[in-house]
């Protein structure tokens, strides 16, 4: 009993360390200044902290405009993922159509093409379509990346809502659309919000496509990639930290729903 508990606890500790230590080290580098970053052996508790580096980083020219582009792209990606993903998920959950299983697999296959291979043809196509170097273009690529999750996750969300709820709504006077809006949507809403935020985070963190498809209107990740390559280490840490924080906060906010839709019993 105690041995098993010990193994369990050390496993938990390992997993926590696996995710928390890098974040902690990045945070340390961001607030500790040049000395902490270059010090060896590493200390886990900095002697002095200052927000000077972070403030300096945020003052770097272009960071705010890049952040704005990032937000714009992520919001667009979130909207597209929901508008396309939720109906597709609903169809997968509610209708038996020929090839539904294949469709599920094909959705995942969109993730099988490495963006690296697609980069050049995409860039050319986007230039032709006048989407190059525009947030809309990047948002479309990010939607392609986030959509499989949006579809499959919303499918499992809708599947978890008994069909009888909808049927009861139909019998008691609702059209299909009204039944969806009055009964299905309110029940699925927390999960849909989680899906949306997940799409936001995917877009926020994506760097490769964003770097290839933009020149002047870069997203924050793509911008940092170019700017920080020449910056001192502690500024790089500050940039990394600024990138991590929103994702972590968002994921933390919706963790309950993410767990629920990945089938981990947490409720």
């Amino acid at each position: 009993m105690t041995v098993r508990r010990g193994i369990f606890l050390s496993g938990v500790a390992m997993l926590c360390a696996w995710t928390l230590v890098p974040i902690w080290l990045v945070a340390l580098g961001a607030v500790g200044g040049r000395d902490v970053v270059n010090a060896w052996p590493k200390t886990f508790f900095p002697g002095s902290t200052s927000l000077a580096t972070l403030r300096a980083f945020l003052d770097v020219q272009g960071v705010w405009s890049a952040t704005l582009v990032s937000v714009e792209v992520a919001v667009l990606c979130m909207a597209f993922s929901l508008l396309l993903g939720a109906p597709a998920g609903y169809a997968l959950a509610r209708y038996n159509f020929r090839g539904a299983t294949t469709y599920r697999l094909l959705i995942l296959l969109t993730r099988a093409f490495p963006v690296g291979i697609l980069a050049l043809p995409l860039a050319i196509t986007f230039i032709r379509l006048d989407l190059y170097d525009r947030p809309l273009g990047v948002a479309l690529i990010h939607t392609a990346l986030a959509l499989p999750f949006a579809v499959l996750v919303s499918a499992s969300l809708f599947q978890a809502i008994p069909r009888e709820f909808e049927e009861a709504a139909w019998v008691f006077g609702c059209s299909r659309l009204r039944a969806f809006l009055r009964v299905v949507l309110p029940l699925a809403l927390p999960g849909i919000a989680a899906t949306a935020i997940f799409a936001f985070v995917i877009s926020w963190n994506e760097v490769f496509a964003a770097a290839v498809l933009t020149v002047r209107h870069r997203t924050l990740t793509a911008y940092l990639l170019t700017v920080l390559a020449e910056s001192p280490l502690h500024v790089q840490f500050a940039g990394g930290f600024v990138l991590i924080v929103p994702s972590v906060v968002f994921i933390f906010l919706v963790r309950k729903h993410l767990f629920a839709m990945w089938g981990i019993a947490n409720r």
Partner: protein
Amino acid sequence: MADILIDGIAKTFGRTVALERVDLRIADGEFLALLGPSGCGKTTLLRIIAGLETQSSGRVLIGGRDISALPPRKRGLAMVFQNYAVFPHMTVRDNVSFGLRMNGAEPARTARQVERAAALLQIGPYLDRYPGQLSGGQRQRVAVARALAVEPAVLLMDEPLSNLDALLRLEMRAELKSVLHAAGTTTVYVTHDQTEAMGLSDRIAVLHAGRIEQIGTPADIYAHPATMFVGGFVGSPPMNFFALQRHNNVVQLGALTLPAPPVDKLVLGIRGEDLEECSPEAGFPFTVQVAEPMGSHLLLTGMAFEHRLRVVAPADRQASPGLVMHFRPLPGRIRWMDAATGAAIAKGAP
């Protein structure tokens, strides 16, 4: 007037035939149970009436109006689902008033009818709670109240009691009967539980393999099953059957000589309580295998002529496995069936 006419309704799923040409007339205010084993098509028929399933052919008329092609919301009926389907994100009050609100009833009328339905099903104290805070039985009451609140002409119920425990089911059954009788609603009630069907309904339609085997009052179906299936499905214990051969217009059953109808291969059907113990020369032998004291009676299971037989004996009769007893059918209680078709041979036949 809300009589229901089911006119040649058939339903196939791919190659599977769920219903083959069902005809049924349900009178205004009548309580009709659709009774049958799982997979017999009873739920499919109910869902076709509700409009949740589309028939392959045939028509459904309510009060003379053909509703076959209408969506569920325009059919003027209410339904109680097997898993209640009470909306978890609405209070009990919002659930009960849902149908009225969706149909644009004025608030005063909505409030009045919700109050009445809540009082009828005794859920008044819970109106502002959420379904998650209620027990299964209370949720079921909410589902029934939601259906009755719209004061429907036709009420459809799909095994509404099957998720309740035995005691609660008994209580809800009696309550449903009085509530629905008071409301005067035409009710179609799907169940696989024959005691539920017998206890609740004015008439029962027994379904088997997509066909209606028999329609009749509970007493009629119990006493005069139209087919071997009905005899074997309705009643607890089910009807006993003996396959017999006719010789010279009679059949031999142990020491008994019985006049038989003019069919060569016969099946004799007899209910367990229609057998009485008698002397060896007046009946047939029966070897007891299992004796189950049921309180009100003693249920004996055993063999007679290589047929499994269930006999209802008086509660004070002592019997142990291996005992050989003798029984004879009570006069007038034998039901003859045609062994080839499984159909009952008409009462009037010699």
